[in-house]
Assembly symmetry: C2
Homo-oligomer: 659 residues x 2
């Protein structure tokens, strides 16, 4: 086969993308046509990958952070030979059920490393992948883990605060194998970038100690040379590529319409004429396709050498590597939690809710070395650092990432770590600031990444710091999110049970939510089974007759329900207390169990220091609620509970209202 001109390789991306977008009558041509040469340089000369084994652990990771340019990715996957991205699949772009969705949807088996679209998320995920790589490289050695993380990024991702947080921390941590390609096309969906930005983006990266190379993004050799420089530099690199948006389409290139304006067959034809591409729509000449397929085999030697190294490892070492890659838990972890539960049941000393989580995680340090803990400005009050060294520019073996006051980056980093594989990410901060992290939490839920989002300071129990720091609506807002387990344990025993369930999750993130204030032990008898696993259970059954009242509570309010039950029983009213650490798990139980726990025909009262929103699903026709009706206030927390009427006496009164 004669040598194919590199520009024809780029044009293959260009026309496959263009034909598909015209066919779909919708799409974003700006990126695939503007970054075709950049992608050609990366995928044909540098990327370490194997389309025949898309999830090869030591592959380079490629993230299309400007996810609206999804056709660029699908073109590359098809051209380089990913089985699942056949030409038929490409043609089904944006149709229901296609692998080629409007935005890339996480599907590693297809070569889609992460879901992108919401701007800023992709580069922050890439940052997390680079953290995971560095950690695993330190843990298992460069023979098993030694790869780059590449991301394509547009202006939008860099305007987002999330992107800015990433720039700052990646430079600080000197993540030298993280390399971004900036599609500097001077255009956003809103028009010229001049409308909203005038800073020198490259200089901004340099301030954060990034290595920056500026190149013509349509010069394949120049981009390739820049990549070589970037790989050599110990700092993370920005390859700033000057590009023309939608390059090649005469009517829209370099203009706002180049982003995503509707294209027609005439546009495709005009582009063919301009670029000298005489082939029919969707026709890729055999020599060009062959060259692309050869690029897809470019890492064959690396791949087999890696397999050889893996096979040569001592059995235990290999098994450990394969275990963490598979996301499997080691032996012994469950016993650690069971043992903790047993001791916690016997411990009568109240302790801050979050400290139980800290203690549990401290016990896991030796058992689960694949845990990576990110924390946003909160080491002291939550203590999830115990027993861990910091992950720094100098020490990649540390498993604790000081994220600074950057909650959003922390969440997206955790997603990137989870998507990378080989590590279990935790992200720890105050519940009130989960809103800062929420867009990343949504992505975790959407992708089904088993990130553990850990929160402290979960209610008015925060006290004097006041309403800004007191969640009242946040439990509901998280419960509303699909595929997110929201867990709010009542004591240290439930904390261990919830951690046990959370660690077992493979395709679902969990929010583990703890009180700042001290909580008494309510589960004072050790039970062999994990009672939180069913989401809700009868903590104390009604006595002296058929159940008249069920008090349903979570977290720090379960103790109030227990006290209210005592008062009601003393008046001869048979009352049960149901602890509900996780609504989603309870909802998944069979109707019989749910009905038995909730109690039929009785009064039900929900008790939670939060808004009622969502509770009615559990309360039935004679349902009351004791909780918050608005934001909190600044004051000693015991006074706040009284002030807002979240007391045993009011629970009793609410129950009687419906009796």
């Amino acid at each position: 086969m004669h040598a194919v001109e590199p520009r024809q390789l780029a044009n293959a991306i260009r026309f496959l993308s263009l034909d598909t977008i015209v066919h779909a009558a919708e799409g974003h041509q700006g990126v695939p046509l503007g970054m075709a040469e950049i992608a050609t340089a990366l995928f044909t000369r540098h990327l370490k990958f194997n389309p025949a084994d898309p999830t090869w652990p030591d592959r380079d990771r490629f993230v299309l952070s400007n996810g609206h340019g999804s056709m660029l990715l699908y073109s590359l996957l098809h051209l380089t030979g990913y089985d699942k991205i056949s030409l038929e699949q490409v043609k089904s772009f944006r149709e229901l059920g296609s692998h080629c969705a409007g935005h890339p949807e996480f599907e590693p088996a297809c070569g889609i490393e992460v879901t992108t679209g919401p701007l800023g998320q992709g580069i922050a995920n890439a940052f997390g992948m680079a953290v995971a790589e560095a950690y695993l490289n330190a843990r298992f050695g460069a023979g098993l883990v030694d790869h780059c993380t590449w991301a394509f990024v547009g202006d939008g991702c860099l305007q987002e605060g999330l992107g800015q947080e990433m720039i700052s921390l990646a430079g600080h941590l000197k993540l030298g194998k993280l390399i971004l390609f900036w599609d500097d096309n001077k255009i956003t969906d809103d028009g010229s970038t001049d409308l909203s930005i005038s800073e020198d983006v490259a200089a901004r990266f340099r301030v954060a100690d990034w290595h920056v190379v500026e190149v013509d993004g349509h010069d394949i050799d120049a981009v390739s040379a820049a990549i070589t420089l970037a790989r050599q530099d110990p700092r993370p690199s920005l390859i700033a590529c000057r590009t023309v948006i939608g390059r090649g389409i005469p009517r829209v290139q370099g203009q706002r319409a180049g982003h995503s304006a509707r294209l027609y067959p005439e546009d495709a034809q005009a582009t063919r004429e301009l670029l000298g591409w005489p082939h029919a729509p969707f026709e890729i000449p055999a020599d060009i396709l062959g060259a692309w397929r050869a690029a897809g085999r470019r890492s064959a030697a690396d791949y087999s050498a890696w397999q050889t190294r893996l096979a040569a490892l001592p059995a235990a070492e290999r098994a450990e590597f394969e275990r963490v890659q598979a996301g499997e838990l080691p032996t012994g972890w469950r016993e650690v939690l069971t043992d903790y539960r047993r001791k916690a049941a016997a411990d009568t000393e109240p302790k801050p809710g979050i400290f139980a989580s800290a203690e549990i995680n401290d016990l896991l340090v030796g058992v689960l070395p694949e845990r990576i803990v990110g924390c946003a400005d909160l080491e002291a009050p939550t203590s999830h650092k115990r027993g861990l060294a910091a992950f720094t520019a100098e020490d990649r073996g540390g498993a604790y990432v000081h994220c600074g006051v950057r909650e959003h980056l922390m969440g997206a980093m955790a997603n990137g770590i989870a998507a990378h594989g080989g590590a279990i990410p935790l992200a720890v901060t105050y519940l009130a600031f989960s809103d800062y992290e929420r867009p990343a939490m949504r992505m975790a839920a959407l992708m089904g990444l088993p990130v553990k989002f850990v929160f402290s300071h979960d209610s008015i129990g925060v006290g004097k710091n006041g309403p800004t720091h007191q969640p009242v609506e946040i439990l509901a807002s998280l419960r509303a999110m699909p595929n997110m387990l929201v867990m709010r344990p009542a004591d240290a025993v439930e904390a261990a049970e919830c951690w046990e369930v959370a660690l077992e999750l493979r395709r679902t993130p969990a929010s583990l939510i703890f009180a700042r204030q001290a909580l008494p032990t309510l589960r004072t008898t050790h039970s062999a089974d994990n009672r939180s696993r069913r989401g809700a259970y009868v903590l104390a059954e009604a006595e002296g007759g058929a159940r008249a009242v069920t008090l349903l509570a979570t977290g720090s309010e379960v103790q109030l329900a227990v006290e209210a039950r005592r008062l009601l029983q003393a008046e001869g009213i048979p009352t049960a207390v149901v602890s509900m650490p996780c609504w989603e798990l309870f909802e998944a139980q069979d109707a019989g169990y749910r009905s038995a726990v909730l109690g039929e025909g009785c009064v039900r009262v929900g008790v939670e220091a939060a808004m009622r929103f969502g509770w009615d699903a559990w309360l039935g026709p004679r349902g009351g609620f004791v909780g918050m009706a608005g934001f909190g206030a600044s004051g000693p927390y015991e006074q706040l509970y009284a002030h807002f009427g979240i007391t045993p006496a009011n629970i009793v009164a609410e129950a009687k209202r419906y009796l």
Copy 2:
């Protein structure tokens, strides 16, 4: 009275703050003791303010963005003579009901310009205040509006993405009257800033075209000279102040514990000895207090000159200024909306939901010149720019702020504009990205700022862009938030009704949520009264007998309920359709109205292309739901509705299930 040494003025702040924090046994000493000299320079030599008239429209705005240092603000307010911040109030710091809450809570009458605490919000609010000032300055002239906006800021605010978004856009817009004081103390709550940042913060500001002055933050004269330079420079200014956290407390100054570690009377005593302050706790010598009170009168001449200028204005001009300052609406605005409603009812052409909002806002351009519209990367698809010029560095008369892809900043800017007064802010973006803006939305709700948050692309109706862009949980998450009206109109008539209600709000923000896809007109008969005002109403009553079924729907799904009703009625099942554009308004109606609308004893079916979460409050014991059970998918939207079973046929089936 002999001259008081400036350092004694600073020490008055220091000891009043310290004594209070020791008294409260909790607080954050780092900021008040570390920024005492900076505050002294600003408040005694530069700030334009009048404690006797705290809400003087042309006062300088002062924002304590590092809100945990609240005692600094309370000390300043007390010392300069704000009536409501008496010594008794100061002593009640962090007690329930005090003006001196754990974090500053919005109360302009006390001199508290904005609620701060969640990091990054304060400086972004300050940015919004500076935008409002520039706009009002252009509109009313420098004789009425010509003031600075000052903000104190710590490392946390600058690490937050929100802070970074602010730096970028403030530099771009050349907001020269925005001046920040950075408390560069090298310490966060987590320890040294070196743990999480190594970039040159001053250089990062310079890249964004800020003017930067670096000074010793404990040298009052140097800070004052820097302020003079900052005021002269046409760019926004950062005064980078090198400080010692908790300065003066021997045990903790300059250390992590300087941030907020518990202090004891011995600490206060040791500080007295170190700094030579022989006075008893809470005792401020008369000469020092006198000098502070004199500082509180420093703008007396400016104040009276301003009043004179206001009084000298032509009556109409003065009335207009006073109207917008009071937040009152002009005559004629309601008629514009009523007229739109009348025409919309007669318009049978379906139109994209968001276009109705765009048309309404276009009509308001001439009527409500106090509207300032911020938009994040979305001008084209929502068209809320129509009729407006851009607010730029060169043209302050434009009322449309191109926010770039910075949703969070947009929301916080809107809060700052609302807190400033004299303008009505709108913030427009996609509903899927409201999560990025959510922390600012929470602050609007908490402060009771009447911001209009406008969202498009509200459901799976977004279609092929896929699940990242399709809200399913976001309606619920916003409805869970206290003091936020969530409005989802079903057609252009309801859109105008909801806008009418939203514009009337004085102490409540609203989220106005619109579909991207075309919606038919359902309210084809003009009604004199605004039916959306009650939150929900019977759009079509059951016929042919007592109501057997109530279909409850919002937004784009009301049309499906109407069609389902037709099918049910055709089978002889008397069925009503209730449109529920705003749950919060409906909840505020009397029980009789609610009961009549919902229907008692009948089957109720909720219909919304979103999660069921929250709906059970309306559905009663025989309640069904047709909507989403998880995230969306990429595909043509009509197919998605069928795929997820949100169809008239399924609504009929769901109703029959409970009949």
